[in-house]
């Protein structure tokens, strides 16, 4: 019988890694976090556009946000 190629891990270990990542992100510089925030805005805006939900436009764009149209 061959060995299982799947990496087995516990849910606790997954959540622990997730928490560690959040702490690492929290420790980034504020300038880096602003860039991440805008990525989040772009993602939210894209998903909203595709589903027809109103959403403000990401920073750095000059378009009037959908909620004001």
């Amino acid at each position: 019988m061959s060995t299982n190629p799947i990496n087995l891990t516990s849910p606790d270990a997954i959540f622990k890694r997730k928490e560690d990542r959040r702490r690492n992100v929290a420790a980034l510089t504020v300038e880096e976090k602003v860039e991440m925030l805008v990525q989040l805005q772009q993602l939210a805006w894209q998903v909203a556009s595709e589903t027809g939900r109103p959403c403000s436009s990401p920073w750095g764009t000059q378009e009037v946000s959908d909620k004001q149209k």
Binding site: E19, R22, R23, V25, A26, V30, E31, K33, V34, E35, M36, L37, V38, Q39, L40, Q41, A44, S56, S57, P58, W59, G60, T61, Q62, V64, S65, K67, Q68
Partner: protein
């Protein structure tokens, strides 16, 4: 990580903060500090927001605020209001007056922090948390839970603020 023109967005935010510093220097607004989710970025992980909240005092504070000098000053520099905010250098900025003693104290004790080489002022972490407790919307509770789990506050300092502003019971009921 950049905007559609290939310019880092933090450059936009730094430029917006320069404009806000000019507003304070020209005494259009009095002592200001960054609040809300953008202020949290100075202490913890990013959470989604679309506004840069600027808490400030206005020169003529009373029952009604006269925001006309603020909007006229901004308009002269090409920044026009869009609904509840003004887009300054691509960043939607909301100017918020103090809502009471807690925000007054938070503004007074706000800390100087540079952003992209621009000096600015940010509401202190424990005051930010206390303001979220006071505002108490579902999104504030969710942010509080998430933020505190990643970046634990100075418990004694937070407790002192909450106690002095009669918010300990509200905080306890949040079950955080």
């Amino acid at each position: 990580m950049s905007d559609h023109e290939g310019v880092q967005i933090s450059v936009h935010m730094a430029a917006a903060l320069r404009v806000i510093n000019d507003l304070e220097a020209d005494e259009i607004i009095r002592r200001y500090a960054i609040g809300g989710a953008v202020a949290l970025l100075f202490y913890s992980e990013p959470t989604l927001t679309f506004d840069l909240d600027i808490f400030c005092h206005f020169p003529s504070e009373g029952i009604l605020l006269n925001t006309q000098p603020l909007y006229e000053w901004l308009k002269k520099r090409g920044y026009s209001p869009e609904a509840e905010y003004v887009r300054i250098e691509g960043v939607p900025v909301q100017f918020l007056p103090s809502t009471g003693p807690l925000v007054d104290e938070a503004l007074e004790r706000a800390v100087e922090r540079p952003f992209g080489g621009v000096p600015t002022r940010v509401i202190d972490y424990e005051y930010l948390l206390a303001i979220m407790v006071q505002v108490g919307r579902p999104k504030d509770k969710a942010r509080l839970q998430g933020t505190i789990s990643v970046t634990p506050p100075d418990e004694a300092k937070l407790r002192d603020i909450l106690e002095r502003h009669n918010l300990l019971d509200v905080y306890a009921k949040m079950g955080i």
